[in-house]
Amino acid sequence: MPEVPLDFIQMIVAAFITVMILSYVIGDNVLFRIATYLFIGIASGFAGAIAWENIVKPTLVQPLISDGLAKLFSPEGALTFLIPWMLALFMLFKLSPRLSRFGGFPVALLVGVGAAVVVGGSITGTLVPQSLATAGTLSPANALPAAGEPLSVWLERLISALLMIAATISVLIYFRFSAKRDLTGGARRSRIAEVFAYLGQVFIAVTFGVMYAGALMATIVVLAQRFQFLHDVVTRIMGGA
């Protein structure tokens, strides 16, 4: 019996799974549900396996095997092995409702580090650079025409810069929801703020429209690729037959 290549079987199975998922076009059915539950199980198992292989095992198990207990009692070992073990064990207390509060220690560390990373990254990676970029839009290099530059090109660049600044500022004003309370008791922004906020809404709609078009294109490519795959499977089966 000729050995069936594993990739062929893999292809057949993938084709069946693809059809089972695409059957959702008709409506929810048993095949679709089986395929999705199968997917969740395999994805979860794979994630757990790779997390163990790449993170947990090299940190908590491998040092014990390679270096032995001697390293555990060294200062370096305490910081790199004992404390991580303790933190991991405390984290496991989160599984028990009674002992859950003891898992607050590692969670507090996780939350604190995560918050600091987000704050630091936002400040250094987005807030400052993007603010500088917005301010630099109308830099002399951009605002003034370059030597020998056609007027149309310069105007286009200038208008684009102004538009970008207007878009940035109007969107930021739109996100500012502070308002004064008027005589009737309702909250109302000033007229200038209302105008800029509406302009910001328009630019946000443009941005989301572009994102929507990109999503459509991406999904069409994926759809095409799926049928390309099915076509290849059928071709190979028919060619093999």
Binding site: S44, A115, V119, I123, S160, M164, I169
Partner: protein, 220 residues
């Protein structure tokens, strides 16, 4: 929860957060390694390493909870328990294979390439139908300026991005391609910049609330 424990958790979060945050504003290259600040930076790396480990442990706890939920569903034979049984079998099989023979083995890669990848790709393919239907309904039912701008921009970008109504060549396509580029690179970019700044400001405020122990998501 006793007040003492609450303060301990808050101190842990604030302390570690401050240490990590300092690293964003100090050029580490200019600091001697054996100085106090240098040691603090070493501690910072250590703490971040612990956070990476704890993130992996948290992933494991989440997977265990997923298993437990479906196990209870199968035990109680609630509606849909058969699907949960399929999930449990697939989960246990993949996890055991991954733990024993490795996640990069042929068998595990077989399961990944034959089931997980096709399922996710097919689900993404179904999204094309859903997005198209959503766009049709939006433009058919809502006729306000924002909706028109949204759909109009999308249509222009689609037309100017590639083949479709127009071929990817010719004068018409060049016009729409240029229009598409302007929309994406100027109008959308400006709006996106404002969105990014707003998101950054919001993230900073949220993170500072945690670092100042105003918000305590780790428990009281």
């Amino acid at each position: 929860m006793k007040i003492g424990t609450y303060l301990l958790w808050a101190a842990m979060a604030v302390g570690t957060g401050i240490i990590v945050l300092l690293g964003y504003f100090v050029q580490i290259d200019q600091i001697p390694a054996d100085s106090l600040i240098g040691n603090i930076f070493e501690l910072r790396l250590l703490i971040m390493g612990w956070a990476v480990l704890l993130a992996a442990v948290a992933l494991g706890i989440g997977l265990f909870n997923l298993f437990l939920v479906h196990w209870m569903k199968v035990s109680a034979q609630r509606p849909g328990w058969k699907y949960s049984a399929v999930l449990i079998v697939a989960f246990v099989l993949t996890l055991l294979l991954g733990l024993i023979i490795g996640p990069d083995s042929r068998v595990v890669l077989f399961l990944f390439n034959s089931i997980q990848l096709p399922v996710e790709a097919s689900l993404m393919a179904l999204l094309a139908i859903t997005l198209s239907l959503a766009g049709f309904r939006l433009v058919a039912q809502r006729r306000d300026l924002i909706s028109l701008v949204f759909v109009g921009t999308a249509l222009l970008v689609l037309i100017g991005s590639g083949p479709g109504i127009l071929s990817a060549e010719g004068l018409f396509f060049s016009f729409f391609a240029g229009l598409r580029n302007w929309l994406v690179q100027v109008a959308a970019a400006g709006g996106a910049r404002g969105i990014l700044l707003g998101v950054a400001l919001g993230s900073i405020v949220t993170g500072l609330r945690v670092l100042l122990a105003v918000d305590r998501p780790y428990g009281e």
